[in-house]
Symmetry: C2
Subunit: 397 residues, 2 copies
């Protein structure tokens, strides 16, 4: 077997993540590797911690990037907070709520799910009813369901956790950087995300924020965490002491993925140059343009307007249209990646991401052009010029 260097093809990433990575972030990934215990690397770690506090709006939380993809943030939150016998209430309104419930069972918890139809936001009243039934250690939910494009209302849900003495766990994998994530305002306990969505860095890291309440609960566990790599009692010492303040010195734990952290750092430099609020406004505007174009093409979004994520658009596949055929067409003819549906939405929706560097007018216009062509190839009658004009009107606004 002769192996040759891998040269990736051109791709325009408008699926559920990864999103397009900017050349600046790619260039940062290629800078020379230095040691993870190097004083200069430790300065970088401190800067990343501060930047994540700013990104999450979590000045009093310990914030670090975990050395594995977004799922590691979920696993860390669940495994560190829950012990055998603890009760966990988990809102399930898509694939990722279901994953949380699976993990909570592995932690030994008694798991109560509050199940919703996919595409719906989490119902605050039904969650309250579940919390009122019995003392609960953790309330977990997904802020931005990547599998459906639904946004849930994180503030009231975190407030419920406080009211019933539970710790809140919030999945912001797809929301962070694309819509407002306000950890301090929500008074949330453990909030995690990923790098490959609205931060537009490659996948492989999971930024996470821990409240002082969560830190205390983890310190006071009866049993060891069922995970060594993600055990915050060990991991935080590597990142500078029990509360991540740097006051406790540093202890070797794992070896940080150094070049991936260069990439995350640069993606934060890029984001703060634009401004977090400006980035949020940009995501909203691109969504308005895409949605206008989709409407002009006669397509419908799965989620009600009030709960739609701008960065993840689940588009209902019209009757008679071959879902995979459309994705294959745009991949083949436009190097454009769109997402398929998961679970009960398989074959029923396309997922169009407008995340980070993929949330630009160019992406919106390319996507609508490619989609119109693919639909026309399947015999759907539509006016591609009118579709683009509808989007352009929003882009010009």
């Amino acid at each position: 077997m002769i192996m040759q260097s891998f040269q990736p093809p051109r791709r325009i990433l408008m699926g559920p993540g990864p999103s397009d990575v900017s050349p600046r972030v790619l260039a940062a990934m290629a800078r020379p590797t230095i040691g993870h215990l190097d004083p200069e690397f430790q300065s970088l770690m401190e800067e990343i911690k501060g930047a994540l506090q700013r990104l999450f709006n979590a000045p009093d939380h310990a914030c670090v990037p975990l050395p594995a993809p977004g799922t590691a943030g979920m696993e860390a939150a669940i495994m560190n907070l829950l012990e055998p016998g603890d009760r966990a209430v988990i809102a399930v309104n898509g694939a990722f709520g279901g994953r949380m419930a699976d993990m909570a069972g592995r932690a030994g918890a008694t798991v109560v799910t509050v199940d919703h139809d996919w595409g719906q936001p989490v119902d605050v009243k039904r969650v309250e009813a579940a919390l009122a039934e019995a003392p609960t250690k953790v309330l977990a939910f997904v802020h931005a369901e990547t599998s459906t494009g639904a946004r849930s209302d994180a503030g009231p849900l975190c407030a419920l956790a406080r009211k019933y003495g539970a710790l809140s766990v919030v999945d912001t994998v797809t929301s962070l950087g694309g819509i407002a994530v306000d950890v301090a305002g929500w008074d949330a306990d453990v909030v995690y995300s990923g790098t490959q969505k609205c931060l537009s860095a490659p996948p492989g890291l999971s930024p996470i924020a821990l409240s002082k309440r969560a830190q205390e609960a983890i310190r006071n566990r009866k049993e060891k965490v069922r995970n060594w790599l993600l055990d915050f009692n060990l991991l935080m010492s590597y990142w500078g002491g029990p509360d991540g303040s740097g006051g406790g010195g540093r202890t070797y734990h794992h070896t940080a993925p150094i070049n991936a952290l260069y990439g995350l750092h640069e993606s934060l430099v890029v984001l703060f140059e634009e401004g977090q609020q400006a980035a949020i406004v940009r995501h909203a505007k691109m969504h308005q343009a895409l949605a206008a174009g989709l409407e002009a093409a006669g397509l419908k979004l799965l989620v009600d307007e009030a709960h739609r994520l701008p960065q993840l658009n689940a588009v209902v596949v019209p009757d008679g249209v071959d879902e995979a055929g459309v994705r294959n067409h745009v991949l083949k003819n436009w190097d454009l990646e769109l997402g398929a549906g998961l679970g009960p939405l398989k074959g029923k929706v396309w997922r169009i991401g407008l995340m980070g560097a993929s949330a630009t007018p160019w992406h919106v216009r390319l996507c609508l052009t490619a989609l119109c062509e693919a639909l026309a190839a399947q015999g759907v009658k539509l006016d591609a010029a009118a579709v683009l004009a509808a989007a352009d009107a929003k882009l010009a606004a």
Copy 2:
């Protein structure tokens, strides 16, 4: 706070890892990110699986790179194989054996450690005595102890596991690519490594090989694995079916760290171009040269010659020499990173890595030059020219 792009300083990496990463691997990391479900990326995954089988010499094992640093390989091996009540015998002759024992406890196993002085190889007879005491599910040991530089004899230890009906777990984080790793020859069950040692890719991935026996044991577990991200029953479906053959299709699990996998792939292209055997010979030769120079400088290695790892040299700090002072000197004056001792060896040894792209004559000569200067600065009398000449004689051989 104004954040600026991070520009790493020049560093020559001769600690216990990461090692110097070649420009080719860094360039590969910077190629455009494509989707993890893209057909082209799936071809890359297949190629990496095959290359890992070749690297481990494990044609009948399922081989994949886990999406987190080397410790994830250890955690995956332990957490997938062990269930509550299982007995595990773990040889501890350094920091990493101890870590395995900690993890096995978290898996709910009954843990029996066979403890050694740090710097000693694992004692096959004492391990056999522990296995003979009671039925055992897992025998785990470290092939190449990064904390001490000791190589243990993997073949006889794996044979003992077979004899007593246990599954073997072998840590080859520091050995793979630097000395022979022969998974088929050893008839080993679960063998894992890291990317930042002798493969000279950045840290962040953990290649792992699973025997058919191990796969069957994992399929037949009574309880779910206490780890979702590293649960092979889920993870292997992402990598192409239960046995990783690709026959079962692919199921979304996590999002692979795409650019890190570009880097691993390129590091394997580089290694196979050189030839695995040639790389092993190179590591041995660089070690001979370094050891000759150290001897000429009056320095001693911690580990007996018969069990020394060429790629990890633990050098005893002479009486009266300030251990950290020497490391600080070479870092400040030569941009050279050497490793400190861990645990009971803290302050007592330096760890000098000759791994992958850091195993060259240039590195050996630079290291000896810098070390002589640092020792002279502390009043140690030595003849630097004679030290280099001793190394050069071996390099010329």
